[in-house]
């Protein structure tokens, strides 16, 4: 059976590259699943968790499920190659929960004090990122200190 070639890229680096059987993406219109042989598609991605199943890494290891945090961006699907372009991304089990918790507190303070405009919009986006990070991190049984 053919596999999906998944790449997750940020402006700074390539966060991950692996083969897997299935990816679930939270797109602009809701969740959708990518399987091998998917039609060519370009979609927005929301700040969310990517869930990949049946991963085999380049080093030959197998993992049943992998989880990645993406802070929005895009996905391009073409001939079993799935490329994510996102401002920032991390592996689910490597999320810095303390940092996310601090970011959440900071964002909450700003949203409460700012009356609107740039600061408010940015804080709201930051809050969403922090909350999604915390939610994914807690799946892995960890808690911020």
């Amino acid at each position: 059976m053919s596999m999906l070639q998944v790449e997750i890229m940020t402006p700074d680096r390539k966060v991950a590259g692996f083969e897997c059987e299935k990816v679930v993406v939270y797109g602009e219109d809701g969740f959708f699943t990518i399987l091998p042989g998917h039609a060519k598609l370009i979609s927005n991605v929301r700040i969310s968790e990517l869930v990949c199943s049946g991963i085999s890494t380049p080093s030959g290891e197998k993992e049943p499920v992998g989880s990645y945090f993406v802070s929005g961006g895009f996905v391009k699907i073409e001939k079993d190659s799935v490329q994510f372009f996102t401002p920032s991304a991390e592996r689910g089990d490597r999320i810095d929960l303390d940092r996310a918790e601090q970011a959440r507190k900071r964002a909450v303070t700003v949203t409460q004090t700012a009356t609107g405009g740039i600061d408010f919009d940015r804080a709201q986006a930051a809050l969403e990122r922090a909350l999604v990070r915390l939610r994914i991190g807690q799946k892995f049984g960890r808690k911020p200190q």
């Binding site: 940020t10 490329q83 372009f85």
Partner: protein
């Protein structure tokens, strides 16, 4: 004749300077190497985003995006000047500031400045309207911190405060060549990206249906968001290139400073030896003269 002790003290101080400049050169080299890889990675990423833009640009139906709309000529413009935070990098900052001043003398514009050196320069020139500044961004340049600046600039353009926004920065071409250039950020000028040109493209080169992409939720929505991302990236790569050029210039400046210090040490040591030899010769002559005097008496 110079004093031996003076020369010795000078040699010592020049040796200290030599050590410092050599260390600074090594640091700049290390930073430059690291940043070079980052710039290459980011350039690859930008290429892929450009590719996505070209794909979706052809499919856009609405054919209107505020970032492309050219404004009437002679409107208010904003110049973003990207300098460094730190000195000791040859003429890097001085050149940028001079360039900016010349440019502003020809085409008056408001200024937004990045970097301490530029800020200090424009603060002294009160005739230029400085509308904003960002300092201490280099060294930890992140995509997110650039977005903050870009967000600000986008709003200024969209609200109509400015009709065009350009950036003056040091463009990195290669290790041996960095040039100061002006690049227009807004409105976007890149010809192949223009949604308006989609008609001609499909007319001359019909894309087979099967090669086309589907869009979720629509090509327009994807295109609009891609443009936002594209603009953020533009500024990000500009800041990275400027930082890289700064390190390269510093590396070269420190290299020639180290070379000069080493030359100076050589000539000082030579002078020292000469003076010392002259002293020894005089002393011997004196002793010999003294001995001669005792003998003859």
């Amino acid at each position: 004749m110079e004093n031996v002790r003076d020369i010795k003290a000078r040699i010592k101080s020049v040796r200290e300077i030599y050590k410092i400049t050599r260390a600074m050169k090594l640091v700049a080299t290390a930073k430059q190497k690291k940043l070079m890889l980052k710039v290459a990675d980011t350039a690859k990423y930008v290429e892929k985003i450009d590719d996505l833009l070209l794909c979706s640009g052809k499919e856009v139906v609405r054919r209107f995006n505020p970032y492309f709309t050219p404004r009437h000529a002679g409107g208010k413009s904003l110049l973003v000047v990207v300098t460094a935070d730190k000195g000791l990098c040859g003429s890097f900052n001085a050149n940028l500031n001079r360039h900016a001043a010349n440019l502003l003398a020809q085409n008056p514009a408001d200024v937004y400045v990045v970097g301490k050196k530029g800020r200090n320069f424009f603060r002294k020139h009160t005739e230029i309207n400085l509308i904003g500044e960002t300092v201490d961004i280099f060294g930890k340049t992140s995509f997110r911190s650039c977005n903050k600046i870009m967000h600000d600039l986008k709003l200024k353009f969209l609200s109509g405060t400015y009709d065009s926004i350009s950036v003056l920065y040091t463009h990195f071409e290669s290790l041996g060549r960095q040039t100061i250039i002006t690049k227009q950020l807004l409105p976007i000028v890149a010809e192949p990206l223009k949604p308006e040109s989609s008609d001609d493209d499909t007319a001359t080169e019909p894309v087979p249906k099967i090669r086309r992409f589907m869009y979720e939720s629509s090509a327009d929505a994807v295109f609009d968001e891609l443009i936002e991302h594209y603009l953020d990236l533009q500024l990000y790569i500009i800041l990275l290139e400027s930082e890289l050029s700064e390190h390269i210039t510093r590396m070269n400046a420190m290299d020639s400073a180290t070379q000069n210090a080493s030359d100076l040490i050589d000539s000082l040591v030579l002078a020292y030896n000469r003076v010392r030899q002259a002293m020894i010769t005089t002393e011997i002559l004196e002793i010999a003269g003294g001995a001669e005097a005792i003998k003859s008496s």
